[in-house]
């Protein structure tokens, strides 16, 4: 076992895997990589198990040194990554040597980069997951974001394939973003006018964005009935508080809540949303469960094909 030495931890660098499942009923958040697309590709590029932990690096200012040679993969936001001062291309796996220094500087496109390592970062598992949920002080090394001077264990000298993702499979975070919505929950309690307004307006990503949810700003949409008995919240739920400004709830959402919800955004669209910075315009599109399920299954198949073709 070798260690990665954290020199600069950055704004918010956290250990994430696919999240914590089976404990929602005890009130534990799901947690997990916000951009599942980038996270899954990072592991696929190394032929890792799909749930191997990655570092989710928010906006850069991150620097660390490898104690021993191994293989890594970089996906997600382009944070101007360098290895020993030389620019490194995103969406590929590569070998690193003893003493190599990796930096993630500042966002070029997207917000969150994923740093995967052969066989995954070896941090403690809590409730079946290594994911950090800051609010619950769970996961990571100590339930918190990474700090300068900490060490992350990994398997030294691991062999992994060197490969690059096909350009057509790389998400474009600068492209227009239309979020597919499954009408559900209290959808019927919103007036026809409110629904039309919601699906025809531009919404802007606000400053209030975090791992719990993305608050959007635009024309207000109000549910007829604001009194709701708290109920379980699914991934991507569009919660509408009394001010009518929608919040798309993401991985660190609370398990139950009592605000009206218009429906749910598909999980792959949530991944793309999590890469957007304040000021980005997004729109909503009415969709259905079959469409988003098929999209999700095609993504899984793409990953499977990628890994089987290699071996």
């Amino acid at each position: 076992m070798a260690n990665l030495h954290i020199i600069k931890p950055g704004w918010q660098s956290t250990l994430q895997d696919l999240g914590r499942q089976g404990y929602f009923r005890s009130g534990l958040s799901e947690g997990g990589a916000l951009d599942e697309i980038a996270f899954r590709w990072a592991n696929a590029l190394l032929n890792n198990p799909s749930n191997a932990a990655c570092i989710e690096i928010l906006m850069g200012d991150f620097e660390a040194e490898f104690e021993q040679a191994t293989c890594i993969a970089i996906t997600g936001a382009d944070l101007g990554c360098t290895l020993n001062g030389q620019a490194v291309a995103n969406w590929q796996s590569l070998a690193v040597k003893k003493g190599d220094r990796i930096c993630f500087n500042s966002p070029e496109t997207g917000l969150r980069a994923y740093l995967a390592i052969a066989e995954g970062w070896q941090t403690p598992i809590q409730f079946g997951s290594r994911s950090t949920v800051l609010r619950e002080k769970l996961g990571g090394l100590d339930g918190d974001k990474l700090k300068a001077g900490q060490q992350l264990a990994y398997q030294a000298n691991s062999e992994a394939p060197m490969q690059t993702l096909k350009p057509q499979w790389i998400p474009n975070y600068n492209a227009e973003l239309i979020l597919k919505v499954l009408p559900s929950y209290q959808y019927e309690q919103f007036s026809e006018t409110a629904k039309r307004r919601f699906f025809t307006s531009e919404y802007i990503v606000s400053q209030r964005i975090d791992r719990m949810g993305y608050r959007l700003e635009g024309p207000a949409v109000m549910a007829a009935n604001q009194q709701l008995i708290s109920e379980g919240i699914a991934m991507g739920a569009i919660q509408v508080p009394p001010d009518g400004q929608p919040i798309v709830l993401l991985k660190d959402r609370q398990t139950i809540g009592g605000y009206p919800k218009l429906g749910c955004v598909g999980s792959l669209d949530c991944s793309l949303l999590s890469q957007q910075a304040p000021g980005k315009q997004v729109r909503f599109e009415l969709s259905d469960v079959a469409t988003v399920q098929i999209e999700r299954r095609l993504f899984e198949r793409k990953l499977r094909c990628f890994n089987s073709k290699r071996s």
């Binding site: 005890s26 009130g27 499954l182 708290s230 379980g232 991934m235 991507g236 749910c264 299954r297």
Partner: protein, 234 residues
């Protein structure tokens, strides 16, 4: 009961419209039936006051299969419901939680008692007299929403939440009561403190002491017993 798809991997069962203990018992019954039938296609269940959210693995089953299966289960449980309702009421584990009711740790005990024109002893007596049911979990790991308290004890949340409510604090919000598993900001009216650990990572899968459907009774203890049982002041 109404079953609907709410997201690409979740279905919601609406069991009723009003919060009631019998509904919680039905939800518990549904939960075990769903766990048995869905097996590893089920990721998790989130029971709440009147609903049950079922999160499933969309790579194993699709929404049509889920809706059909859940509708069958709700029908079966619904038909058996009437003649079993009495036994259902008494289902659920009984958990006793010791509480030291005192202004030293119950920040709002004095004010609540004077607002309601009752003595501390009367207030404590009303809170301990009833067996409560866990309706929902959430807000933070191990936080259980229990009800319903005697109408005379019902108190709205504090207008401005406290920045820090100590772990173990026992509170009342409207007709519900709960215990804070860890220090947290909070707006519930605090009347005492329990030395029992509501959420303990070292218990593994049983980290959360209270589960939806459990029955809870509070027992009044004195300061010495509170400290003896590991209660923390401050």
């Amino acid at each position: 009961m109404k079953v609907s798809s709410v997201s690409e991997n979740a279905c919601l069962i609406q069991v009723g419209d009003q919060i009631s203990e019998s509904l919680t018992a039905v939800i518990a019954k549904l939960s075990s039936a769903i766990e048995e039938i869905l097996g590893d296609a089920l990721i998790d269940l989130i029971p709440s006051y009147t609903t049950l959210l079922c999160i499933y693995d969309l790579n194993k089953v699709d929404d049509l299969w889920m809706l059909k299966t859940l509708r069958q289960i709700t029908q079966e449980v619904g038909t058996n419901q009437n003649h079993e309702v009495n036994t259902l009421e008494s289902l659920g584990r009984l958990i006793e939680l010791p509480v030291w009711y005192d202004p030293e740790v119950g920040y709002d005990l004095e004010e609540m008692a004077s607002d309601k024109q009752m003595s501390h002893a009367e207030l404590i007596q009303l809170h301990t007299a009833k067996e409560y049911r866990v309706f929902a979990s959430g807000f933070m790991p191990g936080f259980a929403y229990m009800g319903s308290v005697n109408a005379a004890l019902a108190t709205p949340r504090q207008k401005t939440p406290r920045k820090a409510v100590a772990a173990g604090s026992v509170g009342i919000a409207d007709t519900q009561t709960s215990v804070y598993p860890a220090q947290s900001p909070g707006g519930w009216n605090i009347i005492g403190r329990s030395p029992t650990r509501l959420f303990d990572i070292s218990r593994g899968d049983k980290a959360a002491l209270l589960q939806v459907g459990d029955r809870v009774r509070f027992l009044s203890i004195d300061k010495a017993t509170f400290l003896e049982l590991g209660g923390q002041l401050g």
